[in-house]
């Protein structure tokens, strides 16, 4: 085995130009796919933080007791999809409203009594954060005793839902496309390199080399190329990430959007995939050339 390994390393050094092209092609392919992954990973995070904002207001009937209020809160547990509930008293609600109205809050200046009801603010589990579930949950909430009215930001929800759908469909579609493209490009680059080494392979067969003897070093080569290429691509991406990160922080200081690099497990998968694609590309080409 160490003999095969030595032959592979020697081969890489002897065919430096072709190996370099292969490694850099893998690097760029990994770069494209992982850049895309990074983008959608962060976009996904941002979208999730928006989704957390999906909430239902449950307005309680006027003049209910503390016990009835608690009773209602317990009943929420029976409805699947609800993550948490928070009680908002009528006083709190008025304060919030005044804040929201900003300038127009002077309208509320001459109120004698607070006409707002007590309410619960309900947040949903991630799996229920879509329009259909939302409507269903709202219906069930409406039927609870002591509940006067249920409100949820219909139009806003539809808008966000649309954007989220668009982004995730586009993400999956383009992601698969880019992956497909990269796999194809890498596999074909390797085929092209092997194509130019057909004669060598043919001669080796003629002097009594088994397929295994011929293939193994190529596989080891593909493995090394895959690792080096993937690492190079990821390093390149990290540099770009740092650049965007600093530029971004420098430009504005919003805490609302937090970008971060790919987690370790994703990086690991990318490197393994790089290796896999190289080996599969090599395997297809070798099979083809070893036949003739």
């Amino acid at each position: 085995m160490s003999h095969y390994y030595k032959r592979a390393v020697k081969d890489i050094l002897e065919n430096r130009f072709q190996n370099l092209v292969t490694i850099i092609t893998i690097a760029f392919s990994v770069l494209i796919v992982s850049a895309f992954t990074l983008f959608f990973y962060n976009a996904g995070n941002i979208i999730n933080s928006w989704k957390q904002g999906i909430r239902i207001m449950v307005y309680l009937s006027e003049g209910i007791t503390k016990a009835q209020q608690l009773d209602t809160k317990y009943r929420f547990a029976e409805i699947p999809g609800i993550q948490a509930s928070r009680f908002i008293s009528k006083q709190e609600a008025l304060e919030l409203l005044k804040q929201q109205l900003q300038r127009q809050s002077l309208l509320l200046g001459n109120l004698k009594e607070n006409p707002l009801p007590d309410a619960f603010e309900i947040t949903l589990k991630p799996s229920s954060q879509n329009y259909e579930r939302l409507e269903f949950i709202a219906k069930r909430l409406e039927n609870l005793p002591f509940v006067d009215e249920v409100e949820y930001g219909q139009r806003w929800m539809q808008g966000v839902s649309a954007v989220v759908n668009l982004i995730s469909i586009t993400g999956y579609a383009f992601g698969s496309l880019f992956l497909l493209a990269s796999v194809f490009i890498v596999a074909n680059t390797i085929r092209l390199v092997l194509f130019s080494r057909q004669e060598e392979i043919r001669i080796m067969k003629l002097v009594g080399a088994t397929n295994r003897f011929i293939k193994t070093p190529f596989y080891i080569e593909a493995l090394i190329q895959g690792i080096l290429g993937s690492l190079l691509g990821l390093i390149f991406l990290y540099v770009v990430y740092l650049f965007i990160g600093t530029y971004f922080k420098w430009g504005i200081t919003a805490k609302t959007v937090n970008i971060c690099f790919l987690p370790y497990d994703v990086i690991f998968v990318i490197i393994i995939s790089g290796m896999g694609v190289g080996m599969i590309g090599g395997a297809i080409a070798l099979k083809q050339f070893l036949k003739s």
């Binding site: 003999h3 060598e200 009594g208 088994t210």
Partner: protein, 229 residues
């Protein structure tokens, strides 16, 4: 057709035909080559000499007929056993077929590496055989930097380094002056004396000097004669 087993024949060809598309390269060839025979296949350009050799190492397959090599029916041999067949046969190709990106040493060593021999043994054998063909001093050169004759000598070295039972030589002296030529023929004779079977395809009758050699004549794909000189 029954194939008669012959303990003494290492190669048996029965009514072999070879077509390349419409081109009939070999027509109804029947030929036995005995163990430890020195055979010349003679004939003009395009007669089918290289094709005949090619059939023996499965460089191509017959269109009709049967071939036995060392008791193995070539039509029945599984794909995975072909390398083991080829290790019994040392081949000097007419166009040398050296790997351009590997040194002389590596080209020759490849045969033994493929057999899985140990590094020290490989090193000893390769250096020895390169010395015999007079190419020891150029062992680190790449084939494209060698003269035609030098390439041919490397091809000879590669063919004999594995101590094959059978040596197929396709114009082994075509690019060599008479002196180097004689040296190569002497070398092949040495392997013959050691017990190998030698088949040489050549258009050049002047290299046929072995008194006990057998000569067959090919002409336009047909076997003409079967004579001793």
């Amino acid at each position: 057709m029954r194939i008669i087993k012959d303990k003494n024949a290492i190669i048996r060809m029965f009514h072999v035909h070879k077509r390349y598309g419409a081109k009939q390269a070999l027509i109804d060839i029947s030929l036995d080559v005995k163990k430890n025979e020195f055979l010349f296949v003679n004939g003009p350009s395009g007669a089918g000499k290289s094709t005949l050799l090619r059939l023996l190492y499965l460089g191509t397959s017959v269109s009709e007929g049967q071939i036995l090599v060392d008791g193995i029916n070539l039509a029945r041999i599984p794909q995975s056993s072909i390398p083991y067949l080829r290790r019994k046969i040392g081949i000097i190709f007419q166009d040398y077929k050296l790997i351009h990106t590997k040194t002389v040493y590596e080209n020759v060593a490849l045969v033994l590496e493929a057999m899985g021999k140990k590094k020290v043994i490989i090193d000893k054998k390769v250096k020895n055989v390169l010395l015999t063909v007079g190419m020891k001093s150029r062992q680190d050169a790449l084939p494209p930097t060698l003269s035609g004759g030098e390439q041919q000598r490397v091809a000879v070295a590669r063919a004999i380094v594995g101590d094959p039972k059978i040596i197929l030589a396709d114009e082994p002296t075509g690019s060599l002056d008479s002196e180097s030529s004689q040296a190569i023929m002497d070398l092949l004779e040495k392997y013959y004396i050691r017990g190998a079977t030698i088949i040489i395809a050549t258009h050049d009758k002047s290299i046929i000097k072995q008194p006990d050699a057998k000569v067959v004549e090919l002409s336009e794909g047909r076997l003409l004669s079967n004579t001793k000189i």
